[in-house]
Amino acid sequence: MEWLTPLIAVYAAAIVLPLFVLLYFLKLRRREQIISSTLLWKRAVQDLQVNAPFQRIRRNILFFLQLLMFLAMLVAIAQPVLSLIGGPSRRYVILIDRSASMNATDTGTNRLDEAKKEAKTFVESMRDSSFFSVGESGDQAMVIAFDNRPKVMCSFTSNKRQLIAAIDMITATDGRSFLAEAVTVAKAFAQSVTTEANNRSAEEPGKLLLFSDGCIEDIDDIAVGKEELSFYSIGKSGENVAVTAMKARRSYETPEKVEIFATLSNFSKQEISTDVQLSLNGNVQAVKAVRIPPREAADANNKGRAGNVAIDFSLSYGERGVIEVRHLYKDKLATDDASWSVIFPPQKLSVLLVTGGNAILESALRACPIANLKVSNPGEYESAAKALAGAQQAYDVIIIDNYIPQNLGRGRYIIFGRPPGGIDVTAAEELKDQVIIDWRARHPVLNYVNLENLFAAQCIKMNLPRDSEVLAEFNEGAAMAMVRRNASIYLLVPFDILQTNWPFDSGLVLFCYNAVEFLAEEGATGRISELQTGQALIVDGFTPETEAKISGPSLDEKEVKAGSSGSIIFDSVDRVGIYSLNASGQVPRYFAVNLLDNRESDIEAVGEISLSGEVVKAQQGDVRRANFPAWPFLTGIVLCIAILEWLIYNMKVRI
């Protein structure tokens, strides 16, 4: 038995009880009534022996009932808690999944609300520090919400109100679930001694409590002992149909024609027929009926692949627009019911190749759909660039081959060989016989490019600034890096392709194509690429300190400012839909943020999760209160006594 607010009850008792007893001794303000003689009444009163106060109390059951009622009330004010947990107090880390799949409404409201409810029940059942036993401290907990990134809502505390407020503040996002980082953060917090931890040992491991539906992307990267984590599975039904892939692009042959490809996945166990609707700028353009096969039967190791169906649309549209593909099936998760894409007017790329003579590179570029490819030598380039005096280059992309330019205007560059000065990149030394050890295959520049066999006889080792983006690595240095400086983008490739075996690889052409497309798109005004929820929105090409406003599904005109590099970075695109960026004096730019994640759309509740090979079973049933507050029962007792007293009083005064 513990008391939450014993002092308040003691103070209340000190005031109320003497007053109550005093009231019984005080005389009532009585109504006067004239009668013929008080002779008989006095005798009757004497017979009742009401004049002796202690006899009056001794015989007055109402007094004792009222006293009992007051005592019950005072004990209720002290908030006694019946504790059903034994043992020493513990530390808990409450991990609440707030990713897209937690928006599923199969639990009545949505899974996040259910998870919050269970987490709050757990917090309420934590043991408090006892008032009467000095030195003993109660359970402590911290709250971390996670989707793509973890967010610490509340660090270790035993203050239940604070913990519940922190849980209440968690809002749903349409992001994906990454738990590993959250676990790392939790462990880091658990090892630090907070001010509230008092004499608590920092080595004491905190128990992780995971409130999730089990749709976690990096479940295999988490190294947590089975005993360290309790998994509370949220959710019931797995019925969901999702748009899991979508791409809208203009045809190479006829740029006016827009082709839209989408994949719909069915995560339920029965075949589903539904309509898929295509909208352009909010107007429905086409509706197609589709029949999506059910998911494959699950086996011991596999949940079973979702049933997929591919669908394509095409429309003729030469302007900029927002395309939406939406299925009309009523399922449990609305986040993945639609996918958006932004298309731009057909653009003709203009590329300048500055080279002392590189026929291979030139022919690779000519293989790409570039409307205007100009080849010039360094002398011509320098004179033209000097005349430009740092202004925006006339070309979409400038490729500099094995030459250190003296003047670089604003623009997008692919630089082969030694890096230029003025972009915080220095050449450290020359390296020989380098092979690729890793590359970012998912980066748009390296899309479908296989660098596995790339060998460089000679290359430059670069000292890169911290904010550079390394796309590929040799065994001793970066093989490809992207640097953003002075409102320009530099794709640095620190070797001469003639010193490598790349010319014999089809990957060179793909690289040229991807790089030119990517850089042209990155720099083009009003262009965007589609984002996944949780990714950062980065837009270059602004003059530093430019102010802009971002609007989107979950935010209303948020003000942002371009940094010194001319980039606007916004990292809170956590809901799916169309975001717009309005900078003064410029046309609005649109961004399509999609979920497009099979794992997140597969909302079937899991009964267990596998952490680095260790299977953690979900806790059976809902979280039940282990500590029961006794005050509601005491309040009930007070009510019963009040009724009993009323009955007895009425029986006594009935004439």
């Binding site: 009534q33 009668i35 013929s36 003689s37 008080t38 009444w41 009163v45 005064v653 009935r654 004439i655």
Partner: protein, 304 residues
Amino acid sequence: MGKIDKQTSGRRLTELLDANFMARLDSLDILSRKILTGKLHGERRSKRRGQSVEFADHRAYVAGDDLRFVDWNIYGRLEQLFLKLFLEEQDLTVHLVVDTSSSMSFGEPSKEIFIKKLAAALAYVSLVNNNRVNISCFSDGVTGQVSNMRGRNYLAAMAELLLKSEPEGQSNFEKACRQIVTSRIGTGVMVVLSDFLFKEGFDAGLRRLLGGNYDLYVIQALSPEELEPKISGDLKLVDVEDFDTAEITISAALLKFYKRNLSAYCNELKDFCSRRGAAYVLANSSDSVESLVLNYLRRIRLLR
């Protein structure tokens, strides 16, 4: 005792007794359980030997006796002179003692009206039968008295006294009884009309009256509010006479104790009276005076 305006007081008698009731009262007379000594020659046997037709005794003749009362038949047989003694018939004195203290104003209908009507009825019966009537009103001692009324002529005076005596003041029964006994009004039937709720007790006063050799009737009139109280809540009861207070919270238990006390008090008065040869009557002021007089008082043989 004061002067009586017979014109107005005749009318005022009807305030106490209506004509029908008076007509019925005409046929009644006061009875005395004792043979008492009257003052004047009347219709009642007295202890005194005198002139009447009712033989009482013989006694030996002594010189100087009236020879008309010598029983010559006995002289013929015994040759001794005996006088025949006859019972003298005298009038009956009826004393009505009426409580006019403040407490009598209590009740709905009030006890005052009730006992005044009752006293008027008894006085009426007495007066029309040529009995001698004394009425004494008392609160703190005797506050009004009319003595030696006889015959119908005094009906108005009787009504006048009863009507002008408003209930006021604290009651002092013992003092009133002492004054009545010492006023030398003679023996007779005495009817005491009161609620007998005297703080100092009723026994001292009644003892004085019993010592005066009266044929005593005690009529205790109580209001319905006293017999069956209809009050509730937390009350401060104030005594109408001495403003004494009693703080009570009405409950079923308290009412039970009250009724038990009331009953005990009435029984105590009744026992006191019956042990001393006095008659006791408990009357409810809500009852009709007519039925009490015509039925109950005849049954206990105060009237015939």
